[in-house]
């Protein structure tokens, strides 16, 4: 037990990483699924232990192989890092049991084991991004998770999944390479790759053109990965055509981890410089975030494919997270961080509910979902409940994040921003209402009036996630405390 406690920071990465090749060796769908589920549950347990350790003892710095930083690679896990690890492993532990039936319906049998292998690799990469304290290591994990993601998207049964994956591959690689360019320039100026070390070395060279350009490359690179408007073009198709279980997992985790990585880079690595203020880009980032909130929601209103509708809504939700970061006081920052967690819960649940819809009626087009309230009452109710959370109705998690964001905006004296947050929520009302209206106030097409609910193995995980979305909406003390203290630490570095 003490062995686990001592090496837990690296175990959360290694366990899924080492488990993945086994799926390829056994080449059997059901066995791979059982194995992957077991690994995900174990990893969830580990990440809870990790969270407890971080809450009890503060930030963990783990030297890989006993080589101390800045020479060796270190893992550096603070409260937000532990929270992100918890998000990824919790979503994985919920999506995996769900994945079996969903993937059996949507992917040819001979490729099942590949899907589970890639899911495990993706989890390892995403968790690695959250725990690493080495800037180049971040790139490696970014690529591990991205490559797995491209494969997962390409597994979708529509032929457009292939082009979606290919376009994401091209943009994702450009983004990751931009990050490497920026990192190379920083390395030229400082001679270090360790994030903590960089933070102390960078202020001395902060006024050089090289560092300015480096920061620009890094922010644009990660902007591509986290789908910051207008760099979001890869996202809608990728989410729409990926298999349902994959979409649920990716929508709930991938962009959040990228947001967290960007937070780390801006507020830890560049923290002592306070780049948003020093380089006068706060307004620019804020405008992009707000533009994303509105553009994403507006485009979502006009979608006829519900999966694509939610994908555009994700672009808008990423806008909220970036907005929280850009306002720059503790409540807003906490709002951004909390929204990473909350959005993972609600978007995960919504995409899982859509997976149920696809399982039963074989389509997620709006017109095919007519009368769904009668045909699949439980699934339709889940979509409505998730939709409430997207809008930000009180007692849902969406309300908590928006509450913090508005509080932060008002505390910073930016009441127009607070107003815009409310306005964009109204847009969410419209796109959620469109789905609700079709599901409950239109009669089902002739010949499909019978009640056919999705199997329990799909519904139960969906409802667990949805339950969590309400639980943390009613009692936000855990997420609120973690996010608030994390926000204060992050901003403390920049003051």
């Amino acid at each position: 037990m003490s062995f686990i406690a001592e090496h837990i920071s690296v175990l959360v990465v290694i366990v899924p990483l080492m488990a993945a090749p086994l799926c390829v060796i056994v080449r059997h769908g059901a066995v791979s699924w059982g194995w992957a589920t077991l690994v995900c549950l174990a990893n969830f347990g580990l990440s809870i232990l990790l969270m407890q350790q971080v809450l009890a003892n503060g930030t963990i710095v783990y030297d890989l192989g006993g080589w101390e930083g800045p020479w060796g690679i270190v893992y550096h896990i603070d409260e937000v890092g532990a929270l992100v690890v918890l998000i990824v492993s919790a979503i994985a532990a919920i999506v995996m049991p769900y994945a079996k039936e969903s993937i059996e319906r949507e992917i040819p049998k001979e490729r099942h084991y590949l899907a589970y292998c890639m899911m495990l690799l993706c989890i390892a990469g995403l968790i690695g991004m959250a725990v690493t304290g080495d800037a180049f290591n971040l790139f490696v994990f970014l690529e591990v998770s991205s490559l797995a993601t491209y494969v997962l998207i390409a597994l979708g049964n529509d032929r457009r999944a292939l082009t979606a994956a290919l376009r994401y591959l091209i943009l994702g690689t450009v983004g990751a390479t931009f990050y490497v360019i920026g990192l190379g320039m920083i390395y030229m100026m400082t001679g270090s790759l360790n994030m903590t070390d960089l933070a102390s070395l960078l202020p001395a060279v902060q006024n050089t053109g090289t560092v300015h350009v480096a920061l620009a490359f890094i922010v644009v690179g990660f902007g591509l990965k986290l789908a910051l408007f207008p760099l979001h073009v890869w996202l809608p198709n990728a989410y729409t055509f990926a298999p349902s279980a994959v979409t649920a997992f990716l929508a709930a985790t991938a962009t959040k981890v990228a947001v967290y990585a960007l937070i780390r880079l801006i507020f830890t690595v560049f923290g002592d410089i306070d780049p948003l203020e020093t380089y006068g880009v706060r307004a620019a980032v804020m405008v992009l975030a707000i533009a994303g909130m509105f553009a994403g929601s507006l485009i979502a209103i006009y979608q006829s494919n519900v999966k694509r509708l939610l994908a555009y809504s994700s672009v808008a939700q990423v806008g909220y997270m970036i907005l929280g970061i850009s306002i720059g006081n503790a409540p807003a920052m906490a709002g951004g961080i909390i929204h990473m967690f909350n959005h993972a819960l609600m978007k995960g649940a919504l995409f899982m509910a859509l997976g149920c819809v696809f399982y039963v009626i074989g389509s997620v087009k709006l017109e095919d979902m007519a009368g769904l309230g009668k045909r699949m009452p439980l699934t339709a109710a889940a979509i409505v409940a998730g939709g409430f959370s997207l809008i930000g109705v009180p007692l849902t998690v969406g309300f908590i994040s928006k509450f913090y964001l508005v509080e932060g905006a008002l505390a910073a004296g930016m009441w127009p921003v607070a107003l815009l947050i409310m306005l964009s929520s109204l847009l969410a009302v419209i796109y959620v209402w469109r789905v609700v209206e079709v599901m409950y106030f239109r009669s089902p097409a002739i010949g499909c009036e019978t009640r056919t609910e999705a199997p329990m193995s799909l519904l139960v995980p969906t409802y667990i996630l949805l339950g969590a979305a309400f639980w943390f909406g009613i009692d936000a003390t855990f997420t609120g405390d973690v996010a608030m203290s994390a926000a204060q630490t992050l901003l403390g570095g920049s003051k």
Partner: protein, 121 residues
Amino acid sequence: MIEYEFPGLLNYWIVFLLMMIGLYIVIGHENLIKKIVGLNVFQVSVFVFYISMAKIKGGTAPILADGIEVYSNPLPHVLILTAIVVGVATTALGLALVVRVQESFGTIEDDEVREQEEQDG
């Protein structure tokens, strides 16, 4: 007064050129294989960038021996070894996807693929 001598910043000019050529191919060409190759050229420019910055004039390999005082930094080379592996994986996956696109769309020209996608609704 800075003295410029050969090769001076030549490496960085090459990096810059390769980077722009690569990005242009990714954006400007419709052929998907050319896009992937352009992506590769773009990545290679970054490899050259890292390798160039580690080289010091007159520096030798970092071996402990008498009479050697100027070393080139080996770390960027090692980093790029990792990046090359990533690049190979990306290219392989990209090309594999192009093969599948050819199988299911019957073309690898991006504009024609787009037309067919719109017909899919």
